[in-house]
């Protein structure tokens, strides 16, 4: 059994899952925003990055990991809510090009702004969990305590989001506000507040991903969330943009696929092959793999 864990295939699976849950987390936050406001938030990754930098800066002295996580997630929450209030609200009911352009512009400001404030050098938050992989008989199991934390964080966020949407009063109102805003308002649901809340939640979920990335090998730079955004989007789209679970599963699949490509094929293929998957998947099921076919709303 343990020999299996040290095998090359399992190593790729572990590394792929660890990478893939991060795509899944960004995908998940895209899904929340999409569900509540029908907007694809191109600045999702950058907002997570910015929130995490804020958390890091506040805690530069006497860094406590959990406090940093909490503050970054809180910063993400505030940033998401404020973005909805200021930038997104004027966009409702406008052609989608407007929202795309505004979010792309916001992305530019956040990234360039982060470089201006914090510089381009990668920064790390040292986590209390070791990045070293487990060893067995001199062989490596490609899982570290930190990787387990990473996977656990992603699963927790996913469960919280899914549970919130499925089982709580708030979730019911959030879904109603997204599906039929006018009906929801006629029933007394404070839709505007909920839209703000949806963005805040999504941005907070994204911040979890950025915090985890900032404690991993690569650390956080103002631009390295772009890659996570692209693959997170692919995950969300393959998963169907409607399904939090689908986004995380698709993210994990993409992560594993990339890892296998890196291991068994020319590594440069890893960056473009998920796009092929996206195109093929969307050709077969335009509404995503994990999404129920929905009647077109009029």
């Amino acid at each position: 059994m343990i020999d299996l864990l040290t095998s090359r295939v399992m190593g790729d699976i572990f590394l792929g899952v660890t990478q893939g849950v991060l795509y899944g987390l960004i995908g998940l936050s895209l899904v929340i925003v999409w569900q509540s406001t029908n907007i694809l938030n191109f600045a999702q990754g950058a907002m997570a990055m910015f929130a995490t930098y804020v958390g890091m800066t506040l805690l530069e002295h006497g860094l406590n990991y959990w406090a940093c996580l909490a503050i970054s997630v809180a910063a993400g929450f505030v940033l998401g809510g404020a973005t909805e209030r200021v930038l997104v609200r004027p966009l409702y009911g406008k052609p989608e090009i407007n929202s795309i352009v505004v979010m792309v512009g916001f992305l530019g400001i956040l990234e360039a702004g982060a470089i201006a404030i914090w510089g381009g050098t990668s920064r790390m938050i040292v986590s209390p969990f070791s990045l070293s992989y487990f060893q067995h008989n001199g062989k490596t199991i490609f899982l570290s305590p930190f990787a387990i934390l990473q996977i656990a964080a992603a699963v927790t966020v996913m469960l919280i989001v899914a549970g919130l949407f499925r089982f709580t009063k708030l979730g019911l109102q959030l879904r109603a506000a997204a599906l039929a805003p006018e009906v929801a308002r006629l029933l007394g649901v404070r839709v505007n507040r909920l839209l703000t809340l949806g963005w805040a939640l999504a941005s907070a979920a994204g911040a979890v991903a950025a915090v985890v990335i900032s404690s991993g090998f690569e650390g956080l730079t103002p631009t390295n969330m772009d890659v996570y955004f692209v693959f997170g989007f692919i995950a969300a789209a393959v998963g169907g943009l409607e399904s939090p679970l689908g986004a995380v599963l698709a993210g994990v699949l993409i992560g594993m696929l990339q890892q296998f490509i890196v291991d068994y094929a020319p590594p440069s293929w890893a960056s473009f092959s998920p796009v092929l998957i996206l195109v093929v998947a969307l050709m077969i099921r335009p509404q995503g793999l994990f999404s129920k076919q929905r009647v077109r709303r009029v």
């Binding site: 090359r8 690569e218 890659v227």
Partner: protein, 449 residues
Amino acid sequence: MFRSPLRRASAIAAASALSVGLVSTGAVITSAGASGNDGVTSNSITIGATVPVTGIASPGYSDVAKAAKAAFKYVNSKSNGVNGRQINFLIKDDCYEVPGFGCTGTPSTYSQTQALLNTSGGLFATVGSLGTATQDSVRSLLDNNGVPQLFVNSGSSDWNNASQYPRLFGWQTDYIAEGKIFANYIKANFKNKSVGFIGQNDDFGANGLTGLNRGGLSIPAMGTGDSFSYEATAAVAGNPFGSMLSKMKNDKVAVVVLDSIPVATKNIIQDAHAIGFKPQFVISGVGSDPQTVNNKYEVGALSLTFLPPTSDAKNAWNVWTKKVLLADSADFPKFTAKSILTGNMQYGVGWAVTFMQALRAMGQNVTQSGIVNILETQGSSFATPAVTALKYSSSNHQGLQGGLMVKISSATATTSITKAGTVYSAGDGGTAAPTTTKYITSPVPSWLG
């Protein structure tokens, strides 16, 4: 949207009118120096460089041009420039390898170089522009405009092509020479040990591998055996190294040579530590600067430098470089008397001094063809911070071709492990083994201030 052809026609006319307006303001900007358009006046000389300010290559590397700028500023103020001419050094962000959206603009060195050429009064030369692909792509542009392209910050062999690009010069030890010196050292000190290789999948990795094999190691092509390649962007987003290192660990590789940029170096040594793999790392000077790599697991790794070890506090050039940086608190606000130099700072000051030497040797008659001639005829005798001579000649535009083997002795400094008073010299591009030559410690000329 235009509904009638008249309105469209008028819009076209309006747009052309606007273009006339825009272009004419541009023309006004440039017409000031339209005569004698080579960046030289009686009391100033304008040069420029494209370097990564944002993007993955920028950490550390952006210090190179800044340190050079500090050196120019220092000489401008202490000695009223060189031969009475103030040096005006312009820096443009080349947006190189910006992985996503960070560097909004057209990430093409071509347009940045065009912008440099557009400097009012013209541009004398580009000095110390960074990167292989980025500088390859503007060789023709600069050559066609008669503008020298000096001291490209890259160890590629592309700069040594005097017949096709007579105004193009490299400065640092090239990757092939570096590879040969590494091979020579490994053969002597790690007899019969298995050697692995990870290189960037461009000429950096390819030339380095060529050098290792010319030096007598037999490392297979990247992608086979224990020889791997990575993509610069992949090194930033993701973790392509785990499986490579794990294979090397299984194959009991004892020495791993890295031709990697600092961010990849950091990921590799961290990954190796994470899987409990502890080989002797030998890292290209391009990607080993300890303060840039910023990782404690790098301590103990070997590298090559063509500049004095950063730990050598008595070296006259190190002393002068510190003085220069301390004088420029605008660009180096965090640099104090207690700070340790980084390789990037030494490097920028290195080629800046070389340029000033050439300028001084030209005397009052500064021309673009003159500096080429000076470098070819007198370059090898210039006093610079480098520990070997610049081997410029009419047929060799590469520059340095040797250096010291150093050990990363702490998270901030390097120490020489080469026999005292000597340096390795890799000679020409053939398979001849590197030789040991004298360690040059030229004094700092007094005119530098």
